[in-house]
Amino acid sequence: MIAEAGLAALWFAAALAALQLALAAVGIRRSFRTVRPELVEGQLGKKSASTGSARTEEEELTSQILSAVRPVAVVQGLLAALAMALLIICFLRSDMSVLLVAENSHSDKPWLYKFAGAWGNHEGSMLLWVTILGLAGGAVAILEHRLAKPTLIATLGAQAAIALGFYAFLLLSSNPFARLFPVPPDGNGLNPLLQDPGLAFHPPTLYIGYVGISVAFSFAVGALITRDVGPAFARAMRPWVLGAWIFLTLGITAGSYWAYYELGWGGWWFWDPVENASLMPWLAATALLHSVTVLATRDGLRAWTVMLAVVAFSMSMIGTFLVRSGILTSVHAFAVDPKRGAFILALLAIYIGGALLLFAARVGTVRQGNTFEPVSREGALVMNNLLLSVILALVLIFTLYPIVAAGFGVQLSIGKPFFDKWIGPFALALVAVMAAGPLLRWRRDDLNALLGRMTVPIGVTALALAGLAIFSLSGHGIALLPLLGLGLAAGLAAASVAPLWKRNLRRTPLFTLGMVVSHLGIAVSLAGMASDSAFTVETLVAAKVGEPQTVGPYTVTLAGIRPEIGPNWSALEAKLVAQRGDGTPFTLRPQSRFFANPVTVTSESAIATRLDGQLYTVLGQPDDQGRWQLRLWWKPFVTLIWAGGALIAIGGALSLLGRLRRERRVWQRDEEEA
């Protein structure tokens, strides 16, 4: 009954989404009939809808429609959440009569993986997506008060349109609640690589990011439909862009660390299509985040910002569908279920094509915003946007090209060296712009003055580069990209904190502090990446028990191998005793794990984290002379990569907090005046 209740909840939610769309359509038509001059001007002030002394009948109707749309949006979100909760209950109870549970779960799993396993598959993850979308729509309906009413109605209509596509996809081709008869004694289990606490955190975080971007996109659609592209719309959209960006940052950082320790390859980024699928929306969101600031504070870059919202949304759609359609893991996935593949392509075409058409049709009504000189804060932000767009275009092409080529029967693949070679230089250029941007004044600035303000960062970069070059020439060869990366990271760190110089920290606005912390995070992360490429040492041996091995500053001795039993696995576990110089010895226990459901062997790395890096150990196979393969890495400062990621997200959170507090103050003042 639980599964049927879930399916019913999903149908009701879909019906409500249809109702929401219909109501919004009526509302928009109403508001068009009474096109007010200030609407056409694109200058609809925040209070014109509520303070007009002579409220027309039409305005009354708009208010009525809005008060009808609001509860519909909230209930739709709650129903989707109910369906998700019911699916999770099916997984927790290991109800094998539900096809999805039987295919992707097993009763021997620990409860956390039963719980998180609910979205460790195609149907469940789509349901999670639409749940978050529904709840976000409800939040917009409840929280957004400053946006003009017709624009808000159009925004909620766009949300409903997006949700409808997902409901149709779930209900018509990916029903998560389908039953299975006869009921099997137990399920197929979950891929052991996914049986990690990371599964409980990583996908939902990314999805919240994707959905946040779709909300930002809905605002853009709303503003385009009602011809209301201006600072008010940008201010309404900004918290959602910021929030989405924070979650995407966290999701990517967590995913990178997960892949790092789980795959046992010692790498933290592989340019795998699945990784790129999360990176592309992040790149677009980062560009959008910066351009929306120009729109909100300077009223410039209007059309550009709307276009970026469309691009960011397209990327999050492509990301979701690429990962979940199966097109990436096997060229034959579409052949298995051509209906689903066609559905996905149709949805993508409708969403992205529709958004681009709307943009093309309405871009003429978006008036030119304020202008600026090339050397100015705006100019730097445009450079940021351009470089991010170029990187995005490269990643997109490199990711999709092999898939498209496969469609024509041509097999090819693009490896990490290729990506590094093409993306690296643009990323470093971006870092240089990022160092200068915050030191520029809005509207107009002077290049010489900028160079003056940049003396310290440039000096730091030059010093770091010189030091590294000497170090590199003295026998420790460092490749060019890591060398430049380390030098620029030092300069960027200095430039990032420069806006705080001679400033009272207590009086510094939270969002300025947030920007400083985020930019510093990029410098920290870049330093970690470059340090890992430049200084990592590796030892690969077949080790006898008791024989000491050296890796970097450590001596590692294999003390023994013993069997280990876990909740749903058995393992061979190595006991490694590691010692740094004359320091205290400590133990590392890498494992080779065997899972029965499904039958898989995984290696579990053992990692010791120190202030200046990580000792990373992997257990391989035994040979016939009683030796065991060991792979040992000493990775100096590799942890900075993820520490930087965390800093970036914390900066975003500070900035969001600062914006929300200011918005609330302004809103309260408005309320008091009204």
Binding site: S330, Q368, N385, Q411, L412, V541
Partner: protein, 144 residues
């Protein structure tokens, strides 16, 4: 700069940047197209020496030979048309076994053998590297 001009300039610069990047990327991909090789391709098109490529196919039955150092293995990759001997130093992936699909990253040696720096094996029953799946069916590359 006049307002109208600035907007137009920005749009043009953006277009040029993105389209330029795309053209660069695609022309780079043209060289990259032969990045993936099946043993039969090498027989037809000759050895791609001096650059990192991927070699994909099946591990021939009975061909995996461990070397005395305990961390190097030799094996033979086949696609039914031709075979390539491969040397790999490292820990083999858990699903690397004989008569199973594999993609080796590395480079060819002048004698026609292949030195692998990384092995990608079938992930689980459902997953096969797309290139292997393709190579199983027919030997193709852009070089034809």
């Amino acid at each position: 700069m006049k307002p109208k001009h600035q907007r137009l300039t920005l749009a043009l610069v953006a277009l040029v940047a993105v389209v330029g990047a795309a053209i660069l990327a695609l022309s780079a991909l043209k060289d990259q197209a032969a990045f993936f090789y099946a043993p039969g391709d090498v027989k037809k098109a000759g050895l791609p020496l001096g650059r990192a490529v991927r070699l994909g196919g099946m591990v021939e039955g009975g061909s995996i030979k461990r070397q005395p150092d305990g961390v190097t293995i030799h094996f033979v990759v086949t696609d039914g048309v031709a075979t390539v001997p491969v040397a790999f130093r490292g820990i083999t992936p858990d699903l690397f076994r004989e008569k199973s699909g594999v993609v080796a990253e590395g480079s060819f040696n002048p004698d026609g053998s292949f030195t692998a720096t990384n092995l990608l094996a079938k992930h689980d029953e459902k997953y096969m590297p797309p290139q292997v799946a393709g190579a199983m069916h027919e030997t193709k590359s852009l070089k034809q």
